[in-house]
């Protein structure tokens, strides 16, 4: 088992955990954290899967992930604005009512 294998398996598990929570969680804040966790897993996978070149990491996935981190936090800010607005408008912190899924 090499280091790269360890990181790939960890990233895959984190992605799976995030997806599971995204499906089962009701609270929108928790679903947002789940999306962020999945994003972090993808970042780790991108960097590890590219592998090192001549002792240092491949610069292209690093640049993608660097901008990805900043774009992810801005998307989180936008999502939180939507969640706060939804709570103000409906008083609900979930996309369901009384535990019944919406007919959408």
């Amino acid at each position: 088992m090499t280091s790269a294998t360890v990181w790939v398996l960890a990233a895959a598990s984190i992605f799976g955990i995030g997806l599971y929570a995204l499906i089962v969680a009701r609270h929108l804040l928790r679903q947002l954290v789940a999306v962020n966790v999945m994003g972090s897993a993808v970042f780790v996978l991108l960097v590890v899967a590219a592998g090192p070149i001549a002792g240092s990491l491949d610069g292209i996935p690093l640049a993608l992930v660097l901008t990805g981190i900043v774009v992810a936090v801005s998307a989180t800010g936008f999502a939180l604005a939507l969640i706060v607005r939804l709570a103000e408008a409906t008083g609900s912190i979930s996309l369901e009512h009384d535990g019944e899924p919406d007919d959408r």
Binding site: Y20, L29, I53, G77, V84
Partner: protein
């Protein structure tokens, strides 16, 4: 020893991801997610990328954590009747879907690790082409020279996020939560040290970013985290309208980068050609300002920023 270090950090990340998302207490989940961000910074350090460790330290552990905490508080205030921790919904498919996606991601990752070997083709081309640009940091090379159209658009995405938040929340200058007045002087002492130091570190990162780890995104992240500190302690105030300085700062990154790229056409160069390292510094400074101000406004959930109490 190397493998043991990798195994323990990776296992810690998995456990933290699980604990951030499981359990009934949402506040605990948020704290776990903040710790997840800290361990992710350690992960980037372990994988050998100081650039990502810096960005993660400022954003993953700093800005995102504060953003989630303030949102948690706002939601409790808006709808106190709603449970902070609704029970998860029952789904027969969730576990199967999650397992399947884990398998797919693992297969993709393992195939990529096994197939390409040491580094991607583009990565090797980058290593060869980098010396010609006069830059020493490959990430800055990719962001400003080789894939700069992507970078312009990414800064534009930040601007779009700001506009979207304004569209959703309307023009409001909501007062954020403030620490209790009894500790104002103590917190002031911290801000008095951290704020100037953040500016110093940001300028340092911008300066060395062309040849050492650092650059506009890291420097902007540091300034944004510092701005979050100023907003949380009342040194800066969220206002309902954006003044000329805020408007200018929001667009300066996209505008400078874009105008510069178009201007190069007039000199018979390709679109977005970079004539020298001085241009890299100019563009990176403009991007840093835009990134920092946009993230601060996204945190405040407001249109503009104004001076607060001392």
């Amino acid at each position: 020893m190397n493998l043991a270090v990798d195994l323990s950090i990776a296992a810690g990340l998995v456990v933290l991801a699980w604990r951030s998302l499981a359990g009934r207490d949402l506040f605990r989940g948020i704290v776990m997610y903040i710790v997840f961000g800290l361990l992710l910074a350690v992960t980037w350090a372990r994988l050998g990328s100081p650039d990502l460790a810096m960005a993660e330290a400022a954003i993953g552990a700093g800005v995102t954590g504060a953003l989630l905490m303030v949102a948690y508080w706002r939601l409790r205030r808006i709808s106190p009747a709603e449970p902070a921790d609704p029970s998860p919904r029952r789904s027969h498919l969730a576990a199967a879907v999650a397992l399947l996606s884990t398998g797919v991601v693992a297969a993709i990752g393992l195939a990529a690790v096994g197939a390409i070997g040491p580094g991607g083709i583009a990565g090797r081309a980058l290593v060869e082409a980098l010396p010609a640009t006069g830059l020493g940091n490959p990430i800055t090379g990719v962001l400003v020279v080789f894939r700069n159209l992507d970078t312009v658009l990414e800064v534009a995405v930040l601007l779009a996020a700001y506009l979207a938040v304004r569209a959703v929340l309307g023009d409001r200058g909501e007062t954020l939560a403030q620490p209790p007045p009894q500790v104002a002087r103590l917190v002031g002492a911290l801000v008095g040290v951290v704020a100037p130091l953040s500016v110093l570190v940001a300028v340092y990162l911008l300066r060395v970013g062309s040849y050492l780890p650092g650059g506009a995104f890291q420097a902007g992240a540091v300034l944004a985290a510092c701005g979050v500190l100023l907003l949380l302690t009342g040194r800066l105030r969220a206002t309902a309208d954006a003044g000329p300085w805020v408007r200018g700062s929001l667009v300066v990154g996209t505008v400078v980068f874009g105008l510069f790229g178009v201007a190069m056409l007039a000199f018979g160069e390709p679109l977005l050609a970079i004539p020298g390292t001085w241009a890299v510094y100019l563009i990176e400074t403009a991007m840093m300002v835009s990134i920092a101000v946009t993230l601060m406004l996204l945190f405040a959930g407001a249109a503009g920023l104004g001076g607060g109490r001392r």
